[in-house]
Symmetry: none
Subunit: 200 residues, 4 copies
DNA sequence: AATGAATGAGTCTTCATTCAT
DNA sequence: GATGAATGAAGACTCATTCAT
């Protein structure tokens, strides 16, 4: 099992990340169990430690992978269109991802909202590129006067992402009752852009 | 004598709740340590179990207390005034609480955003009265046309509370960098009511 | 099992030290097994950690106890008599101890001779009082010309202790074949004082 | 080709012995790490097991090599001269070795002084030829009356080797403070032959 | 013959909970 | 009712050894 493993190794690593994401998503960093993660990934407990130095590092890598995917999603948002259209596209990409690979997103969202001293710096670090990408989606809108001028774009980006996140949390927390996944993009965008007074 | 003893018992219970809130706020349900909680409350480890059946129940009571306080805050919001004024008043009551007794709020906020199967039902249950109270603040505004008509008030209440929460999380997560506590009420209300396009 | 434990606690601690000494004596710091130590001391594994913060600290306390006993032995050596008589008395006290409580001595001797970076500082620290006591046995002899003048007393004390130690090691190592325990005091003293040329 | 391959094999084996000696010298049998040994020897972990059946056997071979070198050193001691001269020469050969290849000696010395059931028989077995060689250095001295007559030469050989060993231990333990390596041969010989009363 | 990924038994350590005092 | 020592299940992590390539 020595030399020609290059691709096989990547596969094992990926399996570990996936099963770890599932466990962390359901039980959190403390509650997750390395034994279970390795079993789900079809390997021995010791193997986990051939790929990740510690549970915490494994967690960090799951987080990093989740954030990497988020950045990729933003990158796919088409260039043209109004701010509203682009934000909806962004939300739809998110939701699509969420349908396929929920665990990674759950881990990112939960940690982003948990602000635990032990893990928060990790989240912030990994999410920075994502927030920057969202800012770049907002920027043209700002220039065209589609956004209020009294707030830095960085803060607005944070608020948009926060609004989306809020809806995911509410979706998961309510067991899918409300809001429905397919409603989230439009709802997030209208609340973010127009607020609760509604369009005028 | 009996009355005094009863009062003393209440005091011990309160001290336990306070120190438990502090530990849960900093370390989460799993990370918190019963030993430390009892020490901080100036009593023995065994005493905790004279007041609460288990760590999980203690956590639940901290959560309940946090939610009870939230309901009280909403109750204090003066009756008259525009929707905007009342929401700002609500936000200010929150922030005032947060300055004095951060841990309880932190526990509630974190659990509300963590949607863990093990604790989420608890949160939902305890927060229901709070959300109902917020709905009642929104209702007159709805009747006066200060709120869009295409969304149930219950959902809008959730979104307002979510917006506030989001800002607390961001405040804690950024180490107080942004937003400043004193800016949160106005910011939450304008984002909630007017959105990112701004007032028109 | 709460309040009136004072004496009982000391007993548990003593039992733990004794069984730990036995395990460390036989298997060394790394080889010893906390599980076995607790079983031998008739308590649960967790109890060990109520008394000692870690295996390493437990080891340190065994070492300290072993050294404390050594100092006591030297203290019992009668004041008067020739250097030779006093050294023999010292050796006999050692040997008597060794017959009763071999494990503590074995641990001290082995660590003193193992000079491992991790434990050596501990040994040195705990043995200092012992060496000082031996020096004080040598000092009157030095003044009376019973010791060569070209070496500091501190070095000679080290050499005498070393000679004794050597014989214990040889005794243990040979399975008791040679030297016999009862021969050690006289042998150590004659070798130390007169050397291999013999008395002249 | 076969010869070359054989030489290459010998080289790998030697490298493994050297790096193993270094690890065992620093961390002991239990503390040493096969991974690190193989890395230091510039080969893969599995390779170790092509040369040695187990960690314990590797340790045994390091011990054997250390003892083999010791025997070689004694063999180099010139034939003629007084007992004192020959013993000093022996000590000087030891010290010279110690300057060049400390780890092997450290392993031998530590194990010789550790009398652990698991390894002691090994040490004894490997050290026997060395002790015999030292005896042969002592024998002519005995015949010439340079040694006391009341002790078997075998025991005196053991005591001389022990005295040297003691000084190495003290040298290593004190971090080189005392005794200095270059003082050891003379010091060992005078203490061994004349004792602490000094020459008379 | 060399490799190094996989293995899993073995260990220390933690900590919620119990219960005798 | 308070106490805090005892408990032991649970879990992260290590590492010598194996063996497919």
């Amino acid at each position: 099992m020595a030399r020609l493993a290059a691709a096989a190794k990547q596969q094992v690593r990926d399996r570990l990340l996936v099963s770890a994401a599932a466990q962390f998503a359901e039980h959190g960093l403390d509650g997750a169990n390395i034994d279970r993660i390795s079993l789900d990934a079809d390997c021995a407990k010791g193997t986990v430690y051939n790929y990740f130095a510690s549970k915490e590092e494994l967690f960090g890598q799951v987080l990093a992978e989740g954030c990497r995917r988020a950045v990729e999603r933003v990158a796919k948002v088409p260039e043209g269109g109004t701010l509203q259209q682009r934000l909806v596209a962004l939300g739809e990409a998110d939701v699509a991802e969420l349908r396929d690979e929920e665990p990674f997103m759950k881990v990112v969202v939960r940690e982003a909202m948990s602000f635990r001293p032990r893990t928060y710096p990790l989240v912030i670090e990994h999410l920075r590129p994502y927030l920057q990408a969202v800012e770049e989606v907002l920027l043209p809108g700002r220039e065209r006067g589609e956004l209020r001028g009294d707030r830095p774009v960085a803060e607005l980006a944070l608020l948009f992402v926060g609004t989306l996140t809020l809806l995911y949390v509410q979706h998961w927390g309510s067991g899918g009752t409300w809001p429905d996944l397919s409603d989230i993009p439009a709802l997030a965008v209208t609340m973010f852009l127009d607020g609760a007074r509604g369009e005028r």
